[in-house]
């Protein structure tokens, strides 16, 4: 049965009532579903990781006044804190990048603006994650050299 048009006018101007339509183009993957789920899974872990990080660094001991090279070296002497900080780096960067991606998609209306803002975001993500990961894996708690001030080293270093 064909739709009956009761008023004169352009035949194809308005779709017939209840004609099937899609809000958006169908996607091949469930990426947005997994991104949504990842925000919640990583969020739970980050509550523990970030609040623990803040508690140990800002509340215990001398708080922010205790933080220096020797303090970081003392923490990263233990694999526990290396794993903690590495997990926090990756989860927080993925969580934050996906959050900002959502905000860009919401507020940048022009296709080109949206594309370039997201490219800048992904470059910042890659640089920060690679740099942070390298720092944790290549960290030397007892660097030696003429330009190194031995008094800044942790107490367990032979140069101290």
């Amino acid at each position: 049965m064909t739709a009956v048009q009761s008023t004169p006018g352009p035949a194809q101007a308005i779709d017939a009532p209840r004609s099937p339509y899609r809000r958006s183009k169908p996607t091949r993957t469930n990426f947005e579903l997994y991104a949504w789920l990842f925000m919640r899974m990583s969020g739970v872990l980050l509550v523990v990781l970030v609040l623990g990080h803040l508690f140990v660094n800002l509340m215990l001991g001398d708080g922010i006044h205790q933080v220096d090279f020797a303090f970081v070296a003392g923490k990263w002497a233990s694999p526990f804190w290396k794993v903690w900080d590495l997990s926090m780096l990756w989860l927080a960067m993925l969580h934050g990048t996906n959050g900002v991606r959502t905000i860009i998609n919401d507020y940048a209306e022009r296709n080109g603006t949206r594309f370039w803002l997201k490219m800048a975001l992904y470059v910042a993500f890659a640089l920060t994650v690679v740099l942070g990961t390298l720092v944790i894996f290549t960290f030397d708690p007892c660097p030696i050299g003429a330009d190194i001030d031995a008094s800044a080293l942790p107490s367990f270093c032979p140069a101290r």
């Binding site: 919640r40 970030v50 609040l51 006044h65 990048t97 920060t128 960290f139």
Partner: protein
């Protein structure tokens, strides 16, 4: 010819149905603003921490700026943002996954603010007493 639009439903009494302007909207606004703020700090924080691979002096010089009382107030703001984002995030998960979450989303929001206050006030007392005391060495 100006046409008048039909009146929009308004929030009236405890049975208001509008999301806009109520706890749900402010929770969403707060989550976005604190999220962006934390992300920007995270990028900076990875960069300053990376100085440990340059030299101990380079790291200590930059971290010294974190011990400045004015920067210390900024750190308190950051912790305030992190605490809100953390507990509002738990509220979002309860709304999404707990069968009664959507019904109690407004009460959960006030719960988030209560937990935020209970944790932030002791932190602020501790942190202010540290940043306004002299730095040793």
């Amino acid at each position: 010819m100006a046409r008048t639009l039909p009146a929009l439903p308004t929030v009236s009494g405890p049975t208001g149905t509008l999301y806009r302007g109520r706890e749900g909207m402010w929770s969403w606004v707060g989550h976005r603003i604190t999220g962006v703020l934390i992300f920007v700090f995270l990028l900076v924080h990875v960069l300053d921490t990376a100085l440990v691979t340059v030299s101990p002096q380079a790291y200590d010089a930059v971290i010294a700026s974190y011990k400045n009382p004015v920067v210390g107030l900024g750190e308190a703001g950051l912790v305030a943002a992190v605490l809100f984002h953390a507990f509002n995030g738990i509220r979002i998960m309860l709304v999404d996954f707990w069968s009664k979450g959507p019904r109690y989303h407004r009460q959960l929001f006030w719960g988030v603010l209560a937990v935020w206050l209970v944790l932030f006030v002791p932190f602020l007392v501790r942190h202010l007493s540290i940043i306004f005391s002299p730095v040793e060495n």
